[in-house]
Amino acid sequence: MEVVQGSVERQPVAPIAIILASLAVLTLSVVGGVPLKTIAPVSCIVVIVAIAYRVALRWSSLIAFVIGWVQWNKRKELDRSARD
């Protein structure tokens, strides 16, 4: 007989709750006629992160996200200055 180190897989309760909450917010916004230009993309991002949080919250993914965000803002700034 030998002791094997093991761990119990945690139940993904929090992601399920986040997904359901995002769906509820989205549905209420659509039914209530609230402008969706902000709510819909934010809900989409929240759902994607909740589904793939193990990949999305890795340090490498977070660094890639920060670099992407900085580049996008820089390009936006350049576009604005070119327009002005």
């Binding site: 399920i16 769906l23 989205l26 659509v30 969706l36 759902v47 994607i48």
Partner: protein
Amino acid sequence: MDLPLYLRVLWRFRLLVALGTAIALLLALMVTVKFSASSPHFSYRQNQTYSSEARVFVTQQGFPWGYAAPPTVPTTPATDAATAATAAKLLGTKQFADPTRFPSLAVLYAYLAMGDPVKKIMLRHGPVKGKIVASPVISTQSGYGTTLPLVAISGTGTTKRAAVALTIRATNAFRRFLAEQQASNKIPPQNRVLLNVISKADPPTLVKGRSKTLPLVVFITVILAVLGLVFMLENMRPRVRTVPADDVARLRTHEQQSA
């Protein structure tokens, strides 16, 4: 990627997947269409934008553009009496401005047409719904831009009729503004700039349709959420797979041999 496994999971939660797809479609539809108890029961949430354009000719009385060499008003005083007499004879009752003045007036008038005084005149006949843009007409056929003595006035609206109506209103308001200014400043009729409408309102064109991005984002969000839920539920309560009898026998044999 184990596609048969994914399909088995989806099939296991087929009711949830079907319900989620129906909700996704319904929400995407509701983002596009507005339902109402009163008539009309269905209407689009987003409006389309149509644009129509009118063109106004900046000219003066007597159609100076018909002259091969129009007798223009001298810009410098005549040097001698003979030249002055010749100029006076030529001018007679007709006095034409330098033709190059009209294109520069067109540039100025384009700004005036979008100004507040013109908007005030328009507001006399009701609210202004839509945008008005005026610009001088520039010909690029010669390879480089040449400003013509024409002003293009365009109006936008949510329907074709509204775009045409706004264009005509803006054109009329600008012509009225100029006429009022000329009258109040007592400019003689023969010296007035005329705005002849050469194109009342072009057939309206669609400049901005209804965006399909938002319904698509909503649909994808709901579908992603449903698929995520399905796989999370599968992970929480994995189904015990039935093992074929041959595999069980093979495993037993393997165990006996290893023992």
